[in-house]
Symmetry: D2
């Protein structure tokens, strides 16, 4: 198996190649009877669509998710939900003349070995970032179901190179702030940093290079007591799902890697009573203790690597002829994938969380 | 479900509470016919056993894994392997008089809510670090099966506070080095740092406090082409398993979070041919591209939080009376769990990797 | 979850409703590099298509499986294979005016409760026999992969009422016979019984009634030693999959329910050596002992209930008004679903067997 | 994987070999806080224990399930429940001198191939009927949890050869009747048939032979709307679990194989309203439509083959020397396994049903 996960009663199966006929997703195990705001789904998906700066709308008319099952008159039927997104540019590549130069940072070579040389290499095939479009459809649906249960989620760009946004307040972040930040063109808490971030990206592009970054996610409204110890807890499911997003190289919950430099007395979050509810004064635990929610916001960061497709010449090999070659990648590629990855990370995490509350 | 995982045909199910009768593990899906060096299993397990500095042997006579099924005359039968470890200290706590003060950083409160107030609270119950003993048994078995297939794994302490070891050379780390480092009393590459590390830990202990750290893991000998894209790749399975080790708050593969500060031209690992084989000159990808092995060493780091049990007084709540209280944790607790966590991390990752090659 | 299964590394997820936009299937975990004879797939699918007696071709031009991913130039890529079948008759029913009379023998009422009244009721929705079309696509693919490994499977109608075909010779049934029988318009070993069987069906139709029957499946070419004891053996996976075909009410392997009337000395299959291979002289065990193949043909029967949609007036209830009503089902319905169910049973079993040999 | 199943959030993993140190089970996913009547568990298990006719007590003092985790003071903790049963007779067989004659009807040969000749052959090893003892422990626990939710289950011997009991009334069978029948020494509805059944068994024993039979199971108290269509419905999970009991060769729900001889108008169960609830007048559907409960009793039958161990001489092969041999099985073996299999079937089905309601 590869592109499916099953968390408890929830199953998500993603299919498609970049230059095949279509890509899509089947989500099995959703509850029947929940109304879906389809415009909101399209808005959510538009956040990962290629952006033209200066346009006034975030709505993309491409990558339209054609819901072929599981929804009638805008209401989930409870039986498998399938959305199919047609590939309109599939004419662009000739399968026979595809290159066998391994693009550094890509899965060309590893996929070639894995699939006995038969996987679709055009445009990255099944490894293409394009395959996140159906994931984001699924994540948008998950977002609405979670919202119907009082759970709100959102993510923003925490940093790209030295251009850094503020962190969520891990104790007090609320639903309104999450909705606001994720609605922004560049999802940032401190919009003052937007220009600096754009400059960093433009600078990389000018150098025919690319940059990565860090994304911060939060979820609020989960009650305490959701999840499980050891292998099936919140961190386990979220991390399994999040590493399904291409270019993710790390994930940390709460204080994350900073814990290595903290004393226990600093890292421990003291419990207190506020308005009759148990809370913690700090939230280094990221809302999760023993794999189970504490009722505090779930907070995690993921590291996204720089776009591997860069225009600069790179040394590599032809894995069919076993010769060393020089590669120049053509075409337009995002100099920074992080903004478009934000809804992808949200989607993976939303689905993981959803699996506990359906 | 909580304390079991199923990766492909491999299933691992861990049971037990700190002060119950016994803890243990069932491993289902192992190949029949592989001989196990049981002394080596005990040595592997001894690495997570409580250590008395100054002793000459690492062999612990406690926590003996009683193999009750799945092995005959030292050879795996292929049917479920079960090891049971008796709890000898189970008399120590009276169930009725157990405290309901939520120890900060522990799962007392979250577990209480999760299990309707019925989970075993004595000594942390199922959330106790003691439950990693059977995990390490399973990891030791996995280690030997992997070794029989030419795959060697190992881990070391990368840092505790400002006391930092060298990193593995991600390109050239080899089996011999892995075996050597994991055999050390304090698993370090650069043994010169050992005293500094001991001092940091001793200093924390003197302050009635604790410290966390970072563990680095590597696996060599995996061929290219193992794994799968999206949700069932190497990173997915390893991270799902590794977050099963208590106190893990983050994981990063290859360059990890550093990718956020790198240009694509620096992060991309150029392919080359060496001795007729495809390799990369650098290994920022940590041996994994698109969820699939490249043939380069698999390398990842995990962040371990400081031991939450500290002797200092802490503020907290009684979650049954809903009152704020002050808590002083008694008893002996490791001021730093990182050294004993090293074989736990190895074990979780070994099992994840094993699932692809059985 | 509902309409997906995951056997080891193989995952199959079926989606769609009878009157929705499309139905289809995602198959994840197939090996890359296997060439598919697409005409043979269409022929296989044509076996479950509605039949007009007297036509010379079995090829149906409807229900065309549009492969949108996982296959390039007729070769499996190894990444998820998705086929989408458009629903052309979706205009036929108005969602708002759908009846809430529970058709006896159908899942109208149980589905209504299960999905909070939101499942698509038109034409049976997700419970429609139509949903087996993508299953049969998947089964046809499985059949070809199995064939590439020397495994041949097939099924026939064993009986419909008192019209009974011969059984497969459970010891000597071979690949050629399986291919021959499954290619027949009515899949029978003894074609002399065809007219009698047609008469039984025609008689039921004339009475505005329907009939069920028994299907027999066999697989040859599996080596000994495939499968597992207890819960993940051949019988477990096949039965889990086969009960996914609507109208199946029973399954028996080898001598099946007849064992209740046999002595051990009759039921036990004696082992012998033939041409240097271990075989059994009889095959009451249906090719499976302890969940594991013996190398003898796998043989099982399934019971298919009569088509529940009959034109006769039936008493029932309106589950929204909670009143007793009389129901007359309109439209054309197969008086016997068994002939079209044969490839469905093959498909479910083929996928179960495939999961062990990929 | 082999001896574990995972249904939704419920995971059951069975371990052990007949002559190993111990056998047992881990059940993960049970709810915390449910009190267990341990005497009732022992009584349930006693039903599968070897019986000495004429004794006044059904309580067996052997095969005691030592609960090592998951239960404190008789209450489920919600974390994994593990019971270990010591093998007291493990001295009886010498591993080195074990026979390699394939006992007909046993998994000696198939297991040998499956496990590369390394599985424990003594006493059938992991394939021994003894391995059902932990299954029955799990089933007894499941029975009590179901009972706490108003669901009662039970099974009886429907037939052994021509000695046949009455069937459950599939419409009106109730909790009291189920509890009564399962408490009987020979679980029969019509106790008048007991002597005839004993005679049939005694007759087989006298002939150095064995007999099989049919077991009927029923569950009452499940509300309508539990389960799922296609691959994850009630029939799917029950059949997957039930084929985990050794010697099962078939299963049929409701009217089962009789449907092959019925008209739709006879097989369809008309809906009606009784006391304000929707029911059916007949129950040929066995309480399940479309994989989902209808609220009527769940009823199924399983076919149990005759004990394969018989004293009569049988022809077979030595699979290591590849020679034909004659085998005389020594020792005491049940001439009919059916009475002891009744609680095994109950247990497998109870666990399958439990997985939907936790």
């Amino acid at each position: 198996m590869s592109s499916a996960f099953k968390f408890g009663e929830l199953s998500v199966s993603i299919f498609g190649e970049s230059h095949g006929k279509a890509i899509g997703v089947v989500i099995d195990g959703l509850p029947g009877g929940i109304g879906i705001d389809f415009d909101a789904v399209l808005d959510f998906m538009a956040r990962r669509a290629p952006k033209k700066d200066g346009t006034s709308t975030m709505r993309s008319e491409k990558d339209f998710p054609n819901v072929v099952s599981g929804m009638v008159d805008g209401v989930l039927t409870g039986t498998p939900l399938c959305a199919v997104i047609q590939n309109t540019d599939q004419h662009s590549a000739d399968y026979k003349s595809v290159s066998h130069l391994a693009r550094p940072g890509h899965a060309d070579y590893t996929g070639y070995v894995r699939y006995n040389g038969s996987n679709d290499l055009r445009g990255g095939g099944h490894f293409s970032g394009r395959i996140t479009a159906p994931l984001v459809f699924a994540g948008a649906i998950a977002s609405q179901i979670l919202e119907s249960k009082g759970i709100t989620t959102g993510a923003h760009i925490l940093s790209i190179m030295d251009a850094g946004d503020e962190r969520f307040d891990p104790v007090n972040v609320n639903a309104e702030q999450l909705k606001q930040v994720r609605s922004r063109y560049l999802p940032l808490i401190n919009t003052d940093v937007e220009q600096q971030m754009r400059d960093v990206i433009a600078d990389a592009a000018a150098k025919l290079d690319s940059v990565g970054g860090i994304i911060e996610y939060a979820a609020v409204g989960l009650p305490a007591g959701i999840g499980s110890p050891m292998f099936d807890g919140i961190e386990n499911r979220i991390s399994q799902a999040v590493f399904g997003v291409p270019a993710v190289k790390g994930i940390e919950f709460g204080a994350g890697f900073d814990v290595a430099n903290m004393y226990g007395s600093n890292n421990n979050d003291e419990f207190c009573i506020e308005n009759g509810e148990i809370r913690t004064r700090t939230n280094n635990h990221g809302g999760i203790l023993g794999g189970i929610t504490s009722g505090m916001p779930i907070v995690f960061h993921v590291a996204m690597k720089p776009t591997p497709s860069i225009a600069r010449l790179q040394k590599t090999v032809d894995y069919t002829t076993m010769t060393e070659e020089t590669l120049g990648i053509k075409g337009r590629h995002d100099p920074c994938i992080v903004p478009r990855a934000v809804p992808c990370i949200e989607s993976a995490a939303n689905l993981a969380i959803l699996s506990y509350v359906i």
